[in-house]
């Protein structure tokens, strides 16, 4: 079994799917000659040529729209946003076109397309370059939304996203491309819409995804010292969400904390907390707590940024609170 970085796992997924299916092509800024802003697509231009690894000018609405039009006409585009912050100028394409055209055409057209790229805060990039679109895009019927946190998931889920017949938003993270992990040599797929227990435990359920995962896992380690055994559930697909796996964990622990790299107001974490509390009220021994960004625009200064982003310590405190543990 190979140990790959997330960027390499993503590249392997792209490579395998492009090899398997000539309809699959990659499009975005700097994906070809520059080898990708984060080197995800390194070497693919050389292997597949300019018709299938398409460098675009800086025009997100334009190339997102081209991807949508190409998908309707039978191709399977993978559109890379250098980061999802820049997808804001293509939101009309994502929301009015990608999410709606299958429905509006009463099923006449299909939109097998992936929009992928980094989402959420990186490090000291300030507010325009540190935004989390989890809630904004998960809000929209017609889209599927995936968020990956390990090389294994990155490869298996990207391959499934490319094969999915629907438009899929695929969130990565600038600061996690170098995260390493084991990836099997044999081809495999991970189905969309399935959460994964990343750490088994019996006392408190910590629900998270994307950049939240390493924080949740660190917090679980910290809590071990307090004698609290956390189960960490990685949601992996935000829409459709695998509530069954999350609920099975909460039924066991009776306590839950949601950890998310996103704003708190109307967040995916808010949706999760509401669902758990509405559906499992009788199971819960404590209210569901959330640890997210603070509700501010992301500042540049290192100390301020560190305060805004949830830390393992903050998450540990929340876990202790739902466990009614004296802090």
């Amino acid at each position: 079994m190979a140990v790959l970085q997330i960027r390499e796992a993503l590249r392997a997924a792209l490579d395998e799917e492009m090899e398997r299916d000539v309809r699959v092509f990659l499009m975005g800024e700097e994906v070809g000659h520059y080898d990708g802003a984060y080197k995800v697509s390194q070497g693919l231009l050389e292997k597949y040529g300019e018709m299938r690894v398409v460098d675009t000018p800086i025009c997100e609405a334009g190339f997102a729209g081209v991807g949508i039009g190409a998908a309707m006409a039978g191709l399977r585009p993978v559109v890379e946003f250098m980061t999802f912050n820049f997808s804001l100028v293509a939101f009309d394409q994502l929301i009015n076109n990608a999410a709606k055209l299958h429905h509006l055409s009463n099923g006449q057209f299909t939109l097998p397309i992936v929009f992928r790229g980094p989402n959420g805060a990186a490090h000291m990039l300030s507010s325009t370059h540190s935004q989390a679109f989890d809630a904004m895009l998960s809000h929209v019927p017609g889209l599927k939304v995936v968020s990956i946190a390990t090389p294994y998931d990155a490869k298996g889920l990207l391959k499934s996203a490319i094969r999915d017949p629907n438009p899929v938003i695929f969130f990565e993270s600038e600061v996690m491309y170098s995260v390493k992990g084991e990836v099997p040599d044999e081809p495999y797929l991970i189905p969309l819409g399935q959460a994964d227990v990343k750490r088994p435990g019996g006392d408190v359920t910590v629900v998270t995804w994307g950049q939240g995962l390493p924080i949740a896992l660190r917090a679980a380690e910290l809590c071990q010292a307090d004698g609290i055994d956390c189960e960490v559930v990685d949601v992996r697909t935000l829409r459709p969400m695998d509530l069954d796996t999350i609920y099975a964990s909460v039924r066991k622990t009776h306590r839950a904390v949601v950890v998310a790299h996103e704003w708190p107001t109307c967040g995916v974490s808010a949706q999760l907390a509401a669902r758990i509390q509405a559906d499992l009220l009788d199971e819960l021994d404590a209210p569901v707590l959330r640890e997210t960004y603070e509700d501010v625009n992301m500042p540049y200064a290192e100390n301020l940024e560190r305060l805004v982003i949830p830390s393992a310590e903050r998450v540990r405190d929340a876990i202790l609170r739902v466990a009614y543990h004296r802090i």
Partner: protein, 362 residues
């Protein structure tokens, strides 16, 4: 406001036969009568939402159908009934869509602004101004990628020129030499705003060369003329992968939508344009040049009205969508039901589906 005489001078009339003129006149009349009946149904409360009529611009859709080959696509705006009818959609399904019925063109999901009929090459009525321009470039990209020889015709109002998506679509079409024909249907108003208040220049084709488009401009008076200009553009797109920008100066005789009394235009101006209504010009031509009798013209009109009244009756009698249909087509549930979603050629070794990964290999 640009003067109807202001565009390039007219070439000598294009030769035509009586049969051909009758055929195209009839197609234009079908659109006009369909929309007149739709307008009436709207005032009777049988149609709701926004209803944008194409009356006055019919020659453009009819000419487009003339130059299309199998596999070609039309992408247009919310002012889309004319294209559906010209391309061959069933008027019954079109009217039923306006009525919000189960039997509608898109099952009552889209209404007037969102007609899609893939079977005739109508790839969509789009209701966000300019948003379809890059999508059309994407269709043309797929044509180039697959080498299918198809041309995509993308129509927009002159009101789509200010918005960014239009220019991003143009840029990529020009940069990648995509087989697409962009047509500006310049009916001189975007809702109540005349072009002079949104464009620093009258001639909108000046925007073409910066994207390496071939450009062309014409006042719409004669369906044969429009056909010739469209055919030339389509040939360039198909044979030379040369995108074109064609500005067709035209006029809508009704308000922007049914709720607009169009008070921003003078009676004189409307009368001046109505005097050159292509439909009436061609009717007159049939009468005078080709000696078609009044009775024959009336009989033709009666036939068309009958066809469109049958569409209204069909729409009226159709059931509304079933309640469960609101959950339909949000996502593709069964890919095998869609011709575009088949497995790639030679794919016989599917990847293993796994749920989660245990690095310790337990």
């Amino acid at each position: 406001m640009s003067d109807p005489e202001g565009a390039r001078p007219h070439a000598p009339p294009i030769p035509r036969t009586k049969e051909e003129l009758l055929r195209l006149y009839r197609e234009m009349l079908r659109i006009r009568r369909f929309e007149e009946l739709a307008a009436r149904a709207y005032t009777q409360g049988k149609i709701s939402g926004f209803l944008h009529l194409y009356i006055g611009q019919e020659a453009i859709a009819v000419a487009t159908k003339e130059v299309m080959r199998p596999g070609d696509r039309v992408v247009t705006t919310y002012r889309d009934h004319g294209f559906a009818l010209a391309l061959g959609s069933d008027p019954k399904a079109c009217m039923a869509e306006l009525f919000g019925k189960k039997t509608g063109l898109v099952g009552g999901k889209g209404g007037s602004m969102h007609f899609f009929d893939r079977s005739v090459g109508l790839w969509g009525g789009y209701a966000i101004v300019g948003g379809h321009v890059p999508v059309a470039a994407g269709h043309a990209f797929a044509s180039k990628y697959l080498g299918d020889g198809a041309v995509t015709f993308c129509f927009m109002g002159e009101g789509a020129l200010p918005i960014g998506a239009t220019h991003e679509g143009f840029l990529l079409a020009g940069l990648w030499k995509l087989p697409v024909v962009y047509v500006i249907e310049n009916n001189q108003y975007a809702m109540g705003t005349p072009l002079s208040r949104t464009s620093p220049v009258d001639d909108l084709t000046v925007r073409g060369p910066v994207y390496r488009f071939v450009t062309d401009r014409l006042v719409v008076r004669d369906v044969f003329e429009v056909r010739e200009h469209l055919a030339r553009a389509a040939r360039r797109a198909r044979e030379q992968q040369q995108p074109c920008l064609l500005e067709l100066v035209t006029y809508r005789f009704r308000g922007h939508s049914m709720s607009d009394p169009a008070k921003y235009r003078t009676k004189d101006e409307v009368a001046r344009w109505k005097a050159q209504d292509p439909l009436h010009r061609h009717e007159e031509e049939l009468r005078t040049t080709f000696g078609v009798s009044e009775e024959a013209l009336e009989a033709l009109d009666d036939e068309v009205v009958e066809e469109m009244q049958a569409a209204v009756d069909f729409a009226d009698a159709s059931p509304p969508p079933d309640p469960e249909e609101r959950f339909e087509h949000l996502y593709v549930e069964d890919p095998s039901a869609h011709p575009d979603l088949g497995p790639p050629p030679g794919d016989d070794i599917p990847a293993v589906t796994v749920r989660s990964f245990d690095p310790k290999g337990a």
